[in-house]
Symmetry: C2
Amino acid sequence: MAQKPSIPAGTRDFSPVEMAKRNFIFDTIKSVFLKYGYQPIETPAMENLSTLMGKYGEEGDKLLFKILNSGDYTNKIETKSRGLNRSQLNKLLSCDKELVENCIFKIKEIRNRLEGYDVKDIETEFNKNYENDPIFIAFGKFFFYNSNLKYKKVDDFATYIDNLTVNMLKSYVLKSINISSIKKIKEARVISEKGLRYDLTVPFARFVVQHQNEISFPFKRYQIQPVWRADRPQKGRYREFYQCDVDVVGSDSLMNEVELIQIVDDVYKALKINVLVKMNNRKILTGIAEIIGEADKIVDITVAIDKLDKIGLEKVNEELLQKGLPQEAVDKLQPIIQLSGTNDEKIATLKEVLATSETGLKGVEEIQTVLNYLNTLDINTEVELDLTLARGLNYYTGAIFEVKALDVEIGSITGGGRYDDLTGIFGLKDVSGVGISFGADRIYDVMNQLDLYPKESIVSTELLFINFGEKEALYSLKALQTIRKAGIKAELYPDAAKMKKQMNYANKKEIAYVAMAGEDEMNQGKVTLKNMANGEQKLLTIDELIKEIQ
Amino acid sequence: MAQKPSIPAGTRDFSPVEMAKRNFIFDTIKSVFLKYGYQPIETPAMENLSTLMGKYGEEGDKLLFKILNSGDYTNKIETKSRGLNRSQLNKLLSCDKELVENCIFKIKEIRNRLEGYDVKDIETEFNKNYENDPIFIAFGKFFFYNSNLKYKKVDDFATYIDNLTVNMLKSYVLKSINISSIKKIKEARVISEKGLRYDLTVPFARFVVQHQNEISFPFKRYQIQPVWRADRPQKGRYREFYQCDVDVVGSDSLMNEVELIQIVDDVYKALKINVLVKMNNRKILTGIAEIIGEADKIVDITVAIDKLDKIGLEKVNEELLQKGLPQEAVDKLQPIIQLSGTNDEKIATLKEVLATSETGLKGVEEIQTVLNYLNTLDINTEVELDLTLARGLNYYTGAIFEVKALDVEIGSITGGGRYDDLTGIFGLKDVSGVGISFGADRIYDVMNQLDLYPKESIVSTELLFINFGEKEALYSLKALQTIRKAGIKAELYPDAAKMKKQMNYANKKEIAYVAMAGEDEMNQGKVTLKNMANGEQKLLTIDELIKEIQ
């Protein structure tokens, strides 16, 4: 029985026409990135789970696609649980996540370090590195100190370490220090240590830290690659989709913000999509929280303000009170909730309201600087200061951007902002960066809805030679050598099939010209060229044919 | 404690310079494919395991990267093994693979069908579909027939079915019908149903079958995407690497073979790599087996023949006898083992030797036809008939190709052939195809070793504006708008950093020109342009600068 072929839910095949359209988008975006001095990098589809886990929140961790360790992973579970009975194992599975993980990673680290060492060096190595390690202290230092070095070979020692892992975990369980949370994390770790990348930002941060000595900062890079998320598939939401990220790291100049908006302007001008750039600054939001003394309510506030148009001022204020803001704070917020007018008017109001907040004023000043540059540069795209913009609040530290398509009802098609410590999680502190991400799939949807592809972007073959038989095919192949050299995409129908079938093929593939070379044409050293759009036929030399098509 | 960032073994990051080099290779290959009328497609990184498994042999199955089902998979294991004790479970794990899989898939199918049904419809549905199902008959039909419908809701029924799965498996184990093979397959299936693609051929076959109604045949497609293999990483062998495949399906014309060799010729001419194309034909190998009456020895024969240069005729013959060929067969093989001379001479010999094999003669004729076309077309690349070429013997049915780089010691850098029933496994019979795959990583290695990249292919930014402060930056940004419109890749250093730092940046990024606009230049509406190669400086208008750089 043959399998009915299908692909996993939330993934897609791309046909030639779809590819041509998508490539038009990617090529346009790339060429703008390059024009501004950004360079491409690529990172592997698989990253270590230690790189990915804990970077996207608890929800994000669940949406990671994890890859099974190759080989006999069930044996590994066996090894790790050796010596534990079921109830102990269950206890272990519900114990404190971090400590257990630390145990496992520590053991791995030790084993890695041991490769290439003689047994006699091991104790020295250990004393040097692990003497004061809190993990081992916590487990009563029964590691090296309570055991005798009876093993002769590193392999024996490896076995010893494996046993030790189990013993460490066992002792941990038996001591019952634990209570909390996350089940099965240990097993998940053991059978899977790699995951598919979830976005391009974390791999980029990892890249920058890992290659910091090869990179010259400020590092301007772009990256266009697919990412994977185990989200429930829906219309317009895929489990595999492309991101197009462009970032500068290692410079806190506002020139970078200006440049990114120039890039947005250039890209959408080239794609002929009318857009509005919304801009905010995290520092302004912090300032607002400062002046009303409610730092933790910033999300509630922006969510409420965002509803002003829909539900009116009164209801917004009600909602704020409901969320626990004191009346005094709501009063202070009034000028901000009702903020309107031009960017300049908004900035003037903000300066008054935030007069007592140094951070807030800094944010206003940053926005003003960027807007001033953009005004002088005659950017086509409208840039609007929008205080409700708060995407990824915990993540961004300065500018926040979002781009909306004006002629289509769709969410944001580009977004980003400044982050001051992206690489910190990987050990490289104080590297500021700013970047934006173009949503290729949404742009594709917008382009399709508005039918914005230039015709030439989806042309494949321009000319088809009809195949009349062996001798004619050879004549055509020779002609094709010259024609292709002139840069024309051309092909010979491979079989001497019926004329109708060959013409059908040309029509389906939307080939603009068909060339026929039979006995007559061959004798004259010419071909008959048919324009498929108007049916016109001409008898031409190959050089004339090339001119006609070009 | 910050994590030390790293990437999984066998995977790679690509730096901007590496990307530029790789893109040069990809772009060159793509432009040739397009010139010949091939169109791009892309398929998802993840395919269903049912698409991938069993297509690459037992070894290949092991090298698939499997993706953990999202959600709480450990619970699923739990459910499936409920009611089995350890020894029963072990027995189960070593039992007949197919039957167990069938059980599981069948249950899934039932559950899917049940969604949306009322309980009262279920029995009807079941009777209609599963009455005569061999699986259920084999398990004594204790499914619906031996049980009472006590459940009130579909959820209860689902639980019932889960229990049933276990019971079915249990009964199966207890009956001990099994003996054989493959351990742990059941668990692997339950926790993973998707894998990363292993090559581009199987996904392509799946694509053709799945989209057969949208495709106009002959379908000429190319596909350039990464593939993943859980091979042991080694120098030059990666776990993630790119393949560049080009295939025609739906035509058995030898024109396609000719065209693919033209493509090889064009690609390597453009990349400036000197290559030799080796060609063989599966039908010739079949013919040889026919005339000596040893069909199953074909691999042994080609392996032995391949050693002729190294070990000499006598040893080759010894080896053949050792492999179990009768003396008579070895005698008959002599003209083939010692086959030499030009392609024409080889063909003449083969025609004599294979005179009694229809298939063999067909193969010789095919090769001759392709070579005749190539001769008339004045192909640069030498094409050599090589009987030792037997790659993927079970897979190819006609032509077999392999391309070797002449100036570097490296394996084959391109290979392929004709297959007559690739799509058959997915239910579409009698679709012949022929294709080749360019090994991007090996080509990259060859290009690096011979330093074949044209200089302009690795240029990123062409011009850097030095940043002297806010006013100058604005002046530069305006100039940059004009410069970029002229197609020059140019950037402004984002910070007003020290001159030396900015110059260092230009040097490291290998930027050819640096522009400086201070008070003087601004007053004159000009910039000072420094050529970084020779240190020459010129005071120029923006238009002059553009001309200078272009």
